[in-house]
Symmetry: C2
DNA sequence: CGGCAATTTGACTATCCTCAACAGGGGTGG
DNA sequence: CCACCCCTGTTGAGGATAGTCAAATTGCCG
């Protein structure tokens, strides 16, 4: 299979939480595959406001093949392991392996769909709807990995979020204070519980879905 | 060239302004190339709020190849001409023509970049910044086609927008009233002029760029 | 010229942001 | 092992931006 040859031109790299491997605006010199961990894609305004424009999980692809500059930085949210390729090598390899390009095309189309759905959230949803949408998405994305279920409470999911409050705000286009207030509101209403800073227990998933707009 | 064979499996279709060719949520049954005109890609919340998630111009690609349902509707903003393909035919054709897939991949990657940049606008920019960004983008996109220059005023560009006020609001994640107020503010400040409903004269492009954030 | 839809304007309101103070908790060093 | 400290997150008060609702105006088309 081609994967062997592809692996040969890549090398794995370990990242610690907070470490960046690609910076906004620089020439695209490398691409990578996520092996383990969660990374964010983000852009900033000149005056420092940040918007997280994508979140990538294991098996996702990072970087901008085929020329151009990268429009967003890539930073590890958790400790992460990635398989890095020189963009030149990758480009050449891809052009010779249509099956790989096809796979990449399918992934990119899916990513574009997901990104566009997120635009509806950013442009048209209220803070409450944004938070609910976020928690629904997180429940789906973290199913399996960072998700525990207590034996006696099968409807509850305990998620370990890969985001700080500030990062959640940067995903949703809100401020950290608004995010915090929404969390405490949902907790007071019995929809979620907050066992620790990075954990959320989903008590009433249906209400979240309804509130997501 | 392969284009001949591709054209053989497609057929051109004329759309009048306001007409849709793809609806949100339906199975992806066709894809198309824009020959002439401007179309919007949009999603709606259940309660009717709309967000325009993309705008396509001549030579752009429409639709979702390779399975899946389309996450957004496609509607003509102006009268338009498109070259339509059955998705089945197109998928099969594409798989046999890596050069076409490569081209489509490059386009899709570019579209993803542009979409992500727009997320920064939706999530983090003020109404004034959104309007300025919009007018800057329009000036760039419409250079040539819907753009006139008076002989004696080379720095002014007269744009014919393919959007109504409501549609501008749906692009920017604002209300129609806010868009209208921003237009009159910019006009009062001498940055633009508004000769008619669909036209904008750019008097001071630099100020717009500065105000775009 | 009249009718209709799109746009503008105005007054008021709500949501979310800003600024500021406070609380918690996890880790470190005594 | 406990106390302290610092960072992150929470809470509060007040304010600004953009939304809502309503009315007036424009301009387009028959």
């Amino acid at each position: 299979m081609e994967l062997a040859a592809l692996t040969a031109i890549g090398r794995t790299r370990q990242l610690t939480a907070g470490e960046s491997i690609i910076w906004e605006g620089e020439d695209s010199v490398l691409v990578a595959n996520v092996i383990d961990g969660v990374l964010k894609l983000s852009t900033n305004t000149e005056d420092g406001r940040e918007q997280i424009v994508g979140v990538v999980y294991p098996s996702d692809f990072i970087g901008r093949p085929f020329g151009g500059t990268t429009g967003h930085g890539v930073t590890a949210l958790t400790d992460a392991k990635v398989c890095v390729f020189s963009r030149r090598d990758f480009d050449a390899f891809a052009r010779e392996h249509p099956a790989l390009e096809h796979k990449l095309l399918e992934r990119t189309l899916g990513e574009l769909d997901r990104t566009r759905r997120w635009m509806l959230l950013l442009g048209r949803k209220s803070a409450a709807e944004k938070m609910a949408s976020f928690l629904v998405e997180m429940t789906e994305r973290l199913s399996g990995s960072s998700c525990r279920v207590e034996r006696d409470k099968p409807n509850q999911r305990i998620l370990t979020l890969p985001f700080s409050r500030q990062q959640i705000a940067d995903v949703l286009g809100l401020t950290i204070e608004t995010v915090s207030r929404q969390f405490t509101r949902l907790k007071n209403e019995g929809v979620i519980d907050l066992p620790s800073r990075r954990e959320v227990t989903i008590l009433d998933f249906d209400t979240l879905v309804a509130e997501a707009g």
